[in-house]
């Protein structure tokens, strides 16, 4: 277990010199070395020699309690003063309330509750750590190149790169903490540190806009933190424990009795705020003002996954209960509404943000259902989504860095202008929705899980999936069509960025090949350890999927027969072509230029209307969830 504690401590140990030594060379060396070591370390924990199914770690409770409380209060005090300084009284109030709950728990139960297992790691948390270690490592390396170019482009923002990298590694440390904590107060501490990192990174540019959005994110996440602290107090009060594994065991044994159900509902609420489920989705959209690596790391592939991780952990408690069904419905509605809204967005980052919210909804849906099939599907979704979405965000960041825009319409002809980047975006998009790639495999698993438990929820999945198909394909089409020939130019992108982009591309495709191994080694043992049963994709279907993957992989081969005997002509423009595929003669004899724009159907799938409707529905469901749990 010391190895796990080391993985939490190591990024922290790297973060501090990053803040202190401000030389570019030192930062480069430190970040790259640390990224490699963290990735290797998180993978190393997966080796059978270093991990047993459930390892535990014991420390004398005496001083730990005080340290923990002290740190919690320090975080709360920091947030409190932030609120005071920027006149955000709600933030100060929430921080105060949460600190009050922590102190109350400590005073009421001091010495009466003993934490047996402080840190614990099972196959699920190890897999999560692996995802954070690898994806986080690549994103950190990418950031080195990106942030340099970012500040060359944006002279108006103050260059605070040491702070940026400090926060990045502090965040990684906290994420490992979230996954390895079994004691809920400790988990809450790490949870709040990730909230704080997210707040500081969203506000990185220091403009009024980014500060406003950072505070929005902080406020909503503090609401979740408050529910979390409430869950701890309640659990201590009724069950005399503050440990996650005890809570889950109670829930699994008691079949959702009140004692376990109320803290589980509170924790699920915290998870849903962290994962930006409706009605809290607005903070994740706002978070898109942050530099793109932040969006990739915190707001798509890792931090928001902490929320769904918690919800999936609680699956055995939520299964078959009314609050569980409410959680599933919130996830379902968020998936459907998020996917529909993504159709109406032309800003690439907003499309990715809405698609992230939607996919997190799908995972929440799995957690709420809580059967073994749903749990398996949910974990698989986390895995594929983390890798593919990180790739897509980094690609969009690179595109923005080159062109100063992230409008999908301006990606027309990208296959000629930036062929490598264009192909990587296509890999990412294919990974998000197309057979036989990862997200489709997971959606398929979700569908199978739902038909056995609650076919009503199938409705959200089938309608939502058809919407995802629409917005991904039209984006892909935009990458492919070439109307105005732009010169090829992919210069100015640092090697470190290419390394991260290529690695994530290879990983996105490669995962389709070796996810059965990850499933057999990590996901299935975890699911079996809880339910005693497990599901998986049949051998026959796996073979068929591999054949499909092989066929799709043949596509690049076609470029070797590029110069085939075909006659190339101009596109048909109603017979009025002016010796070109884009210029034509209008009715009055004037020369006009042809333009093609995608459908966004904004009057049908407008963001305002749908997020309002989804938000109201989900807020109502949250009230029902707490009403029934109490």
């Amino acid at each position: 277990m010391t190895a796990h504690a080391l993985l939490i401590a190591f990024p922290l140990a790297i973060a501090i010199p990053l803040l202190v030594f401000r030389s570019r060379a030192v930062t480069n060396v430190l970040v790259i070395t640390a990224a490699v070591l963290i990735a290797a370390g998180s993978l190393g924990l997966l080796l059978p020699q270093t991990s047993v199914l459930s390892a535990s770690f014991q420390v004398p409770a005496e001083y730990l309690d005080w340290t923990l409380l002290g740190l919690e209060l320090a975080v709360a005090a920091f947030i409190f003063f932030l609120g005071v300084r920027h006149l955000r009284h709600l933030v100060s109030f929430l921080a105060l309330l949460q600190a009050g709950l922590a102190v109350a728990t400590e005073i009421l139960f001091r010495g009466r509750i003993e934490v047996v297992t402080l840190l614990a790691a099972d196959k699920f948390s190890l897999m999560m750590a692996g995802i954070v270690g690898i994806v986080g490592g690549f994103i950190a390396v990418y950031s080195l190149g990106y942030m340099k170019a970012y500040h060359e482009h944006h002279r108006e923002y103050r260059d605070r790169q040491p702070l940026f990298f400090f926060l990045l590694f502090l965040f990684l440390s906290a994420m490992f903490g979230v996954f390895f904590s079994n004691s809920l107060p400790l988990l809450l501490l790490f949870w709040e540190i990730t909230t704080l990192c997210s707040f500081l990174l969203i506000g990185y540019n220091g403009t009024a806009e980014s500060r406003g959005r950072a505070f929005l994110a902080l406020t909503l996440n503090l609401l979740g933190g408050l529910a979390f602290a409430g869950a701890i107090l309640f659990l201590a009060f009724t069950a005399g424990t503050v440990e996650l594994d005890r809570l889950i065991a109670m829930g699994a044994a008691g079949g959702g009795l009140g004692a376990a159900l109320i803290p589980a509902a509170l924790l699920a609420f915290a998870g849903m705020t962290k994962s930006a489920q409706m009605p809290f989705s607005s903070w994740l959209l706002g978070a898109m003002v942050a530099p793109t690596p932040v969006s990739a790391l915190l707001h798509s592939s890792t931090m928001v996954k902490a929320g769904v991780y918690l919800v999936l952990r609680l699956a055995p408690v939520l299964r078959g209960t009314i609050p569980g069904t409410m959680v599933a419905l919130i996830g379902g509605i968020t998936f459907l509404a998020g996917s529909l809204i993504a159709i109406s967005q032309s800003d690439a980052k907003r499309v990715l943000a809405w698609s992230t919210i939607a996919n997190l909804g799908l995972i929440v849906l799995c957690g709420g259902i809580g059967t073994y099939e749903a749990l398996w599907a949910g974990i698989l979704l986390i895995l594929f989504h983390a890798v593919t979405k990180a790739l897509l965000f980094l690609c969009v960041g690179t595109f923005e860095q080159k062109t100063n825009t992230r409008d999908i319409e301006s990606m027309s002809g990208l296959i000629v202008a930036m062929p490598k980047l264009s192909i990587m975006i296509q890999i990412g998009i294919a990974g998000m929705f197309l057979a036989p790639f990862g997200m489709l495999v997971s959606k398929w698993a979700v569908l199978r899980a739902l038909v056995d438990s609650n076919p009503l929820l199938v409705v959200f999945v089938v309608f939502g999936s058809s919407a995802t198909l629409f917005f991904w394909v039209k984006w892909m089409g935009k990458l492919l069509e070439v109307t105005k020939v732009r010169p090829a130019d992919e210069t100015g992108i640092a090697v470190r960025q290419w390394v991260a982009l290529s690695a994530l591309s290879v990983l996105s495709v490669g995962l389709v090949g070796f996810y059965p191994l990850i499933s057999a080694q990590l996901i299935e043992p975890y699911v079996r350890s809880i339910y005693g049963m497990v599901t998986t994709i049949s051998q026959g279907n796996l073979i068929i999927m591999s054949i499909m993957l092989g066929m799709v992989a043949l596509f690049p081969v076609t470029f070797f027969v590029y110069q085939r005997k075909v006659r190339v002509v101009d596109a048909y423009l109603g017979g009025g072509n002016m010796d070109s595929s884009v210029l034509f003669q209008g009715a009055g004899g004037q020369v006009k230029s042809m333009e093609m724009r995608n459908y966004y159907l904004a009057h049908l799938f407008g963001e305002k209307r749908l997020s309002l409707a989804g938000g109201i529905a989900c807020a109502a469901l949250i009230f029902v969830m707490f009403g029934v749990a109490l």
């Binding site: 197309l434 057979a435 036989p436 489709l440 398929w444 569908l447 199978r448 038909v451 076919p455 009503l456 199938v458 409705v459 089938v462 309608f463 999936s465 058809s466 919407a467 198909l469 629409f470 394909v473 039209k474 892909m476 089409g477 935009k478 492919l480 069509e481 070439v482 109307t483 049949s538 026959g540 279907n541 068929i544 999927m545 054949i547 499909m548 066929m551 799709v552 596509f555 076609t558 470029f559 590029y562 110069q563 085939r564 005997k565 075909v566 006659r567 190339v568 002509v569 101009d570 596109a571 048909y572 423009l573 109603g574 595929s581 042809m594 093609m596 995608n598 459908y599 049908l604």
Partner: protein
């Protein structure tokens, strides 16, 4: 099924499906002509057309546009094999979607305004019919407890009796899939309501022939899915598939194309009302 049987079935499907699909296309044209008081072309005209297309010059706007069509074709054949060898019905649907997406990408790649409009409209149609197709598979699972086509086909129950709503919804889906009025907004068979040729505007010669053959495969698969609703009684399945095919042609000739908004609304409302309603009834009465 033994591996040998599977291979034989696969070969049979690959060879027979385009002939069946081509013949159906011939019947379609003949029937449509009679409904419009014309004599119509010979029954085998679709085959003559394709033979002629193979002899024509291939003209493109973008050199790589045809590659996508070949993948469309290959995945359509793959889908056919998957379905007729009795594979997983969800996987069959996903493979069918993958194939259709290659056609859409080809139209985008062609970079012509008419094929671009066709591609966008085809996507709207896919978005409109996809839920219904998946719901039909879910409904079949709820009755037979299996997603495997062989098991569904061997179920002693006549599925249509438990799934009437899904069946009607699926027939409407056929109008989308076979690009028939009123839902033929991406590429119509009727010249009078077409803006140029929609999704296939920039394809010619051999490539266009492959698109045609792929459609023949597609027709066979979707009619096969119709037959699944009646699989317990094979003779009835054949009759039902024939009736549905006739109905689709009749509707095609009676209706004009609708705008995309109505097409999307029709697809989703029918799926939500008939599809979801049917599934809830089956689930709660089980």
């Amino acid at each position: 099924m033994s591996p040998l049987e599977t291979v034989l079935l696969a070969v049979a499907a690959i060879v027979a499906a385009p002939f069946a699909g081509g013949l159906l296309a011939g019947i379609d044209r003949k029937l449509s002509a009679r409904m419009q008081s014309r004599w119509g072309p010979p029954l085998l005209q679709p085959f003559y057309d394709v033979r002629k297309l193979f002899r024509k010059e291939t003209i493109v706007v973008r050199r790589s546009q045809n590659f996508y069509i070949y993948f469309f074709f290959v995945f359509m054949v793959f889908t056919t094999v998957l379905f007729f060898t009795g594979g997983d019905i969800l996987l069959t649907i996903f493979a069918l979607t993958l194939a259709s997406i290659f056609l859409v990408l080809a139209a985008y790649k062609a970079s012509s305004p008419y094929s671009f409009i066709g591609a966008e409209r085809e996507l709207i149609l896919m978005m409109a019919y996809e839920p219904m197709v998946l719901l039909a598979a879910v409904g079949m699972y709820l009755v037979t407890r299996s997603f495997i086509v062989v098991d569904i086909a061997r179920s002693p129950q006549l599925l249509v009796l438990s799934l009437p709503g899904l069946f009607i919804g699926f027939v409407v889906t056929l109008l989308f899939k076979m690009r028939k009025s009123p839902f033929d907004i991406s590429a119509s068979h009727h010249a009078h309501q077409e803006i140029v040729r929609g999704i296939t505007t920039e394809f010619s010669g051999r490539t266009l022939a492959f698109i045609e053959i792929a459609h023949w495969y597609e027709t066979t698969v979707v009619l096969g899915m119709v037959a699944l609703f009646f699989a317990a009684l094979p003779w009835l399945a054949a009759v039902a598939a024939a009736c549905v095919f006739f109905l689709v042609i009749l509707v095609d000739n009676v209706f004009a194309r609708v705008k995309w908004r109505l097409a999307l609304a029709s697809g989703w409302i029918i799926a939500a009302a008939l599809g979801v309603g049917n599934i809830l009834v089956v689930f709660f009465l089980r």
